[in-house]
Symmetry: C2
């Protein structure tokens, strides 16, 4: 396996081939430019275009009750099942910015549509970065015009770079199987416990996807929905899938799941300050929802995260968090209920398990450790 | 006001006097000794005795579904309304230790009863420290015998020292009002979001307390139940109130509340790695339970805690956490909904507020910041 599908937890379909991560699926063009939101010539504006006039598409958006303006614009002014393009900015989340922020997100959508000669409703808008600061819309408009001029096949890397915030590296991959290609870009870092998607993720394929929304929802449910860095659901979570169908074949089973799970794991691995990743399997819960609640309480426990950081196989902290998640009930847990040895081992990917002995419910969750760097990054972020 | 009642958020009853914090309420004796759980001659075993043969008493115990052995012993083998004595150890929580741990907690209770010539059921047992390690019961038994030999009036400081773990200083206070005295000791540090009490807190008074349980529950509801350091509910939370009634007067209104709130704030202020404390008032929620959920989600947000640490008046992170707590609903929040200026100011005690504009529900919560020291303390704790 090459550089992209590197986690032992990802199980790609048979015959999958990795391609250069810079390659976009056929029928897609992209660009990433620096328009000055971040300053210093750092890319902060991405544009993605599907050449096929009637692609299948779907988008999942954060369920946060205070969503960012671009999320509201996607929900209210975009046809999520017929998206031709995505315009995305980084460095400023355009969240908590009131009616003026909403107008600016609309302006982003309209400018991209005008530059690409599309209907505004066929353009999804996404932003990521600091909350509560007015979006510099003139710079963004100029960036969109610049990006529209540079848009070209094979610019997955440029797109992935243009959506980074505190990410240490661009996150993207391209896979080929069964005669079709799928490419995807994502960004993560902090405020990561998606309701169904990370801050931003874009997926392109030339395969046919009969029910894009159901397919995307199912793949997100086993990937981006299973991760947490700091337990915080973003105001900007957006994941977009576009499928041209030009290759004439259906997406092979497991291909979307593999690329999304690897990207989700890349997000966890590159969580703010993260040095290690763990996968926790909770079994024997009353039902799956209970297992999920227990798994997330453990994964988001600062004491479990610091134990993971310190390579301390501290199963007691896992039991404490499980007991907190099920407060008021009675658990019989001891050292034998927990597999935590890998938490204390040298591995970068630690496999953990907890057996509750209450029923058949189970859940998986992936999480990162808590280090001083998380504190440093987030104490200084806005300065 | 003297050194103990130092928070601007505590409102003691009129005429309250602070006494030497080392003074115990009349009719109580205590001791703190080093029995070797922690090693290095550090105090780790405390004993508290009420001389009055029939005091009123009450105890609140953690609702964690995996409680420590001493909590189970209190629940199953102590008469919580007729407690004469408390035996407490630190350095080892006797949690996650199975049936053998339970037997050792019973042995602690029986040894203390034998040494003090009491019925075992009149002795409460409490432990705090590392989870999952067998309690060195021979050392503890010897410590109890030592402590019984040293027990004397006015040893509040010794008792407070004997229950410390990562606390930077002993936490205790003594107040006098309306002809009665109340003294209390507490410990906190990490794993702090009590279901109704911190890790350990003991309160003594010579006043009459007609319904000790209801009184204690009400006072805890506005103090220890309102604090969080890391959002983690301990396996060992225990709070004990003992009242002799020897002074012949009832406890003045507000006196128990004041001593518990100040101790709870001392616990937050001395949270692991903490450098600042915030009080957050959430108003305008659908109901009080919703306000509580929003307030705790904000208080436990690592991004809010790091912003507090970095003196960054980042109201956007408060809005994000509120939106996450109310995911799936619709909030209209902007900069005017939040008072966060003190988060960016120099004050040690930052007053914050959020107005949701949904109804009449409100909640208060006190929390500490997240610093690198929290990570350091908890990455190394067991080494």
């Amino acid at each position: 396996m090459g550089a992209f599908l590197h986690s032992r937890w990802v199980e790609p379909p048979a015959g999958v081939e990795e391609r250069d991560a810079g390659e976009l699926a056929p029928g897609f063009r992209a660009a990433g430019v620096a328009c000055g939101i971040k300053g210093g010539g750092t890319p902060d504006l991405g544009l993605l275009l599907c050449d096929e006039p009637e692609p299948g598409s779907a988008a999942l958006l954060t369920s946060n009750a205070a969503p960012a303006a671009p999320v509201r614009v996607c929900r209210e002014r975009a046809e999520l099942g017929a998206l031709r393009a995505v315009v995305a900015s980084s460095g400023n989340a355009n969240a908590g910015t009131g009616p003026e922020g909403y107008e600016r997100a609309v302006a982003m959508q309209e400018e991209a549509a005008a530059q690409l000669d599309l209907a505004p409703a066929s353009v999804a808008v996404a932003s990521t970065g600091q909350i509560g600061i007015p979006l510099p819309i003139d710079a963004v408009r100029e960036g969109i015009s610049m990006a529209a001029g540079e848009i070209a096949p094979g610019r997955s890397t440029e797109l992935a770079r243009a959506i980074m915030t505190t990410d240490r590296a661009p996150k993207h991959g391209t896979l080929r199987a069964g005669g079709v290609t799928i490419s995807a870009q994502a960004k993560g870092a902090g405020m990561i416990q998606p309701g169904f998607a990370t801050a931003l993720c874009f997926v392109q394929t030339d395969a046919t996807v009969p029910d894009p929304e159901a397919t995307l929802r199912a793949a997100a449910a086993t990937s981006f929905e299973r991760i947490t860095v700091d337990g915080l659901q973003s105001t900007n979570d957006t994941i977009v899938l576009q499928a041209t169908g030009a290759a004439g074949s259906e997406l092979p089973a497991g291909l979307l799941d593999a690329i999304l799970l690897q990207l989700a794991l890349d997000v966890v691995e590159d969580g703010e300050g993260a040095t290690r990743v763990a996968r926790l399997r909770v079994g024997g819960a009353g039902d799956d929802a209970e297992a999920d609640r227990v798994a997330r309480t453990i994964a988001n426990s600062q004491l479990v995260q610091t134990a993971l950081h310190g390579r301390d196989a501290n199963w007691g902290r896992i039991v404490q968090a499980a007991g907190m998640a099920l407060a008021g009930q009675e658990l019989k847990l001891d050292a034998d209920s927990v597999e935590a040895a890998e938490m204390g081992a040298d591995s970068q990917e630690a496999d953990l398990a907890l057996e509750l002995g209450r029923g058949e419910g189970e859940a998986l969750v992936y999480f990162s450790d808590l280090s001083c760097d998380y504190v440093r990054i987030n104490s200084d972020y806005s300065s």
